[in-house]
Symmetry: C2
Subunit: 403 residues, 2 copies
């Protein structure tokens, strides 16, 4: 079994966190100057590890081996959410680098590493990994703009020095599969005092826009009896969802109303229109369908009074099962390094691994997030857990390659 270098791992993580440092965290949006500095820094580390780095036309940084033989692909992402934490995707990228170094020539330089661009969705959904698996075309790239300020993706790529570079493609025959490590982002491991999570699946996310149409009117002269208040209709449905969803939900289902808008949103005007963004997540396709049926029934029976209500699905992602054999390998490695301190669990957040899972056997390993904090500069994981996670990933990679 390989042995990782704990000091080298922690130094690299901390060096990387200095690029775009913000308070105790990092601010490194996709294609920003700091993000590009991080990509070039990482390419240099790949070279030092004996890999051949490429930064492709979408910003993916890929370290390839010149040695023949079966390979295993490891990776995650380098950019961060705005003013977010120092680990998140950086953890999985540096783990990949360290595993490549730890296995090295002894394992035929069989680990390749990727940092996939824009997993955090500043411009798109899993832009880099989708590009790598040929899931995005030039038409989509041409029409993609920044979700923050509307900057065209093409302009951002040019500004980042990536204009004209070819995009790299995945050759599925090259790899045994894909492994990704990440912080849990929730509090389940930390609360239970556990140190490792073997991911069973990545949940499906189903998103909806629910819109209410009433009649805008004067909040002083319009009697309660004749109002068609779209805001009141929205509140009634939202309250009904909160009251009813626990009955239809599974033990790990989550549902969220993330945005509510009343129109025109003035203190003395009865809202004539209202809308809300609602989503739920579960790893079970059947559970997702049941939750959608429940939502449809609540909307159909909504006590919307004199208002009309329209339910529109915005997106439905498919839950992605992680490879069973890889899960077993990760679990064996976890048990060897930290007996009894690991569980299997679904991922409630999306990850590049769900994109790779459509092309390759893929699996994920979680390390604990202290207090479950994520996407915040206070995000952290204990050093001993950072080291343990990387060793477990290295052991599992060695087993997969040796098998």
């Amino acid at each position: 079994m390989p042995t990782i270098d704990a000091a080298r791992l922690l130094k690299d993580l901390r060096d990387l966190a200095r690029i775009g440092a913000y308070k105790t965290g990092v601010h490194r949006p996709t294609y920003s100057a700091d993000d590009m500095t991080a990509r070039h820094w990482f390419a240099t580390r790949l070279t030092e590890a004996g890999l051949q780095p490429e930064i492709d036309g979408i910003g993916n940084v890929i370290g390839r081996s010149a040695t023949p033989g079966p390979k295993l692909l490891l990776g995650s992402h380098l950019e961060t959410q705005p003013h977010a934490g120092w680990l998140d995707g950086a953890l999985g990228v540096i783990y990949g680098l360290e595993v490549a170094r730890a296995l090295g020539p002894a394992f035929g330089q069989a680990i390749e590493v990727g940092a996939w661009a824009d997993e955090e969705g500043h411009f798109g959904n899993f832009l880099g990994s989708r590009s790598f698996v040929r899931g995005i075309d030039e038409v989509e790239i041409a029409r993609t703009v920044s979700r923050h300020d509307g900057t065209r993706l093409a302009d951002a790529l040019a500004h980042a020095g990536l204009a004209g570079r070819p995009r790299a493609w995945l050759d599925p025959a090259r790899y045994r599969g894909y492994l990704e490590a990440h912080i849990e982002q929730g509090d389940e491991l930390d609360t239970a005092g556990l140190r490792l999570g073997v991911v069973t699946s990545i949940v499906g996310i189903w998103q909806y826009m629910i819109r209410f149409e009433g009649v805008q009117n004067h909040a002083g002269t319009t009697r309660m009896a004749i109002r068609k208040d779209a805001g009141v209709a929205l509140v009634r449905l939202t309250a009904a969802i909160e009251a009813n969803f626990p009955q239809v939900a599974g033990p790990r289902s989550v549902w969220t109303t993330g945005r509510i808008l009343l129109e025109p949103g003035a203190p003395s005007i009865v809202p004539g229109g209202a809308e809300m963004l609602f989503q739920f997540r579960d790893a079970s396709p059947a559970r997702l369908v049941a939750m959608e049926r429940a939502l449809e029934a609540l909307v159909a029976n909504a006590n919307a009074g004199p208002c009309s209500v329209t339910l529109t699905n915005v997106s439905r992602s498919t839950p992605m099962l992680m490879d069973a054999g890889f899960q077993d390998a990760l679990e064996r490695a976890a048990e060897r390094n930290a007996p009894g301190m690991h569980i299997r669990m679904p991922s409630g957040a999306g990850h590049d691994a769900q994109v790779f899972a459509e092309r390759l056997p893929a699996a994920m390993l979680f390390v604990p997030s202290i207090g479950g904090i994520s996407h915040h500069h206070a995000e952290d994981t204990r050093d001993k857990d950072l080291v343990l996670g990387c060793q477990v990933l290295a052991d599992a990679a060695a087993e997969i390659l040796g098998g």
Copy 2:
């Protein structure tokens, strides 16, 4: 008794509606070019009516009589809400003009007329009438900005050609009182098939900001059991208000949640903060207090779960009783001109008359709004009701001056 000139009245209303015409309504924000054109147009009409017009330093247009003797002040406002109706305040201003013409020298030119600036609150609350009753000072004017675009009031006044003009002051001893006509803005008269409303009081408006503090978190990785979702807490309180307020409210009470904001308002983030603007209105001070007590109890017992909730009063306006003798005079005139087709009713909206009621006997007359539509270009009143209302106002004015 005086007789108004129906054709002259309707022509003036329609001529005025062409200034800033928008679809079937009018767009004439305070101090806009169209608004100032309307003020100068009105000043010319005052001159033709034998009155001496003044446009003062806040934009009030006041037509004064040079004839000695007791006077009655009539008026309302010329500016409109954005893209609003053709009558609203313009009705009361042109009614005042027509009553001044109808009573004329025969009544000692005893009617004076005012168009009070910015009743609609593009910059402030009842800016013109409050200025006239010395309810606003230079410090407040200096710090007042447009609620739409932040333009300084002083700059808007200068741009409108009003810089350096003195502001006119009310001399209470000069007047028997103040009369204002307005469209009802609600549907009560129209629905009941009635033609006139004698206003008993102008409701008090009590406004609140209710803020919820939870913890912002990831909508995928944060289990339902540990969430501190400020949006869910807000929805629960709002639903409780809607369920409970009918029991504490009076028959004419109204309450409105005009704005809801979830923070950060993203589809995949559990809201960490949330706030809502809530208001209620009633003509009874005791009822207002009871509604505030009920709101405080609901907030105190709010099922806010792990979130905290803060209730902040934003404003409390005092319900203003209209003068009893003036109400009687209006009712007698209504009964004489339209027997049985009138009622007494409170005003659910604020009006300049509530500002004057602090200094002078004051009263208001409502004409029907077709379908209750207000602050919309479809706002309208039947011609026969427009004529009837003006005649009733003239009769009441004559009785008040003759008494």
